[in-house]
Symmetry: C2
Subunit: 197 residues, 2 copies
């Protein structure tokens, strides 16, 4: 049964080896920053800089494994109904980014969502890895420059991530409302998930 | 006066705000993994995922600022005599990579060099950020795939990095001898550095 992650908020969930989580982009325009940690030793985490190296690719595609900072496969991107544009290049939004944009202190952000969600799940985070930013559309041009663009996904698009280890998976429905990465209307939206057998 | 960093080894050095370090690729073919940390609070570090976002570019160029995980400029790439191909996409080599390649345990690697050099300088590392890989030639093709290629630098090419904060800078002369990223002969070489006023 689908559970909601409200707009601008995060959620950490235990995902046993062999199980999968289906994440639905309910409105179609919402970026979800995604982390995964080895549940028995959270110093091992999904590392985009290791995943790029193992895939020889900037971005993941359906069927790809996602690797840890110990070069161990943690997840498989088992299904993906969207055009497959996800990002592994950019840090999550944080209080310093909103300060940079002149927002008042206290703006919701993915970094705090990550820390708070992990804390609620019983873990203390010592670092914030570069997340996998699902549906985030960061086009690379001339093999050199990057831009921030609106998602290419449609309402109801979903991904399925299957665990290859016992994991904690953290999602943050990105609160960004300054740039158009959550759609041209710059309006963060809720998303939904369910654990599959 | 130039100091040597022997082949396959690392060095951490204090770099005061306003000072610069000149790093010389003595043989021309050597990749140097490079980290920088705020000396007063090492939980702030040079973050390539934040730097890409602030530069809107995959790789740094002469004149660019390099940002921390708090989106603060830590360094300026003040000079660069090479063709300017440096990497910010790949994790440093580590014991798991050499295991992946079938090497015997104990192969020198940039991750251990980083941890050991920081320890020798009086710091305990709690994480290993994705480094700036100076002279590492990771061409991006079709805005999508990446490859491992030989450096484009020549003997004596150098970079100058100027500190905008009081920093600890860590260099590792990359011990990679399996792939050609340290030249077609796959032979790690020493490099040299000096602190400039």
């Amino acid at each position: 049964m689908l559970q909601e992650i409200p707009a601008r908020s995060g959620k950490a969930l235990a995902l046993e080896k062999g199980r999968a989580v289906k994440l639905v982009n309910t409105k179609g325009s919402q970026v979800v920053d995604t982390w995964a940690l080895n549940r028995l030793d959270t110093s091992e985490y999904l590392s985009v800089e290791h995943t790029r190296r193992m895939l020889y690719r900037l971005f993941p595609e359906k069927g790809d494994m996602l690797y840890s900072n110990r070069r161990t496969p943690l997840l498989v991107l088992e299904d993906d109904t969207s055009p497959g544009q996800h990002d592994m290049l950019l840090a999550c939004c944080d209080k310093w980014l909103y300060q940079h944009y002149g927002c008042a202190p206290g703006h919701a952000n993915c970094r705090d969502n990550y820390l708070d969600a992990l804390f609620a799940a019983g873990f203390d985070a010592h670092l914030v890895p570069n997340p996998l930013n699902l549906w985030m559309n960061i086009p690379v041009r001339d093999n050199r420059t990057i831009a921030l663009d609106v998602p290419l996904s449609k309402p109801g698009d979903h991904v399925v991530l299957r665990a290859l280890r016992d994991l904690v998976v953290v999602f943050s429905a990105c609160p960004m409302d300054v740039t158009p990465i959550n759609g041209a209307d710059k309006t963060p939206q809720p998303v939904h998930y369910e654990i599959l057998p």
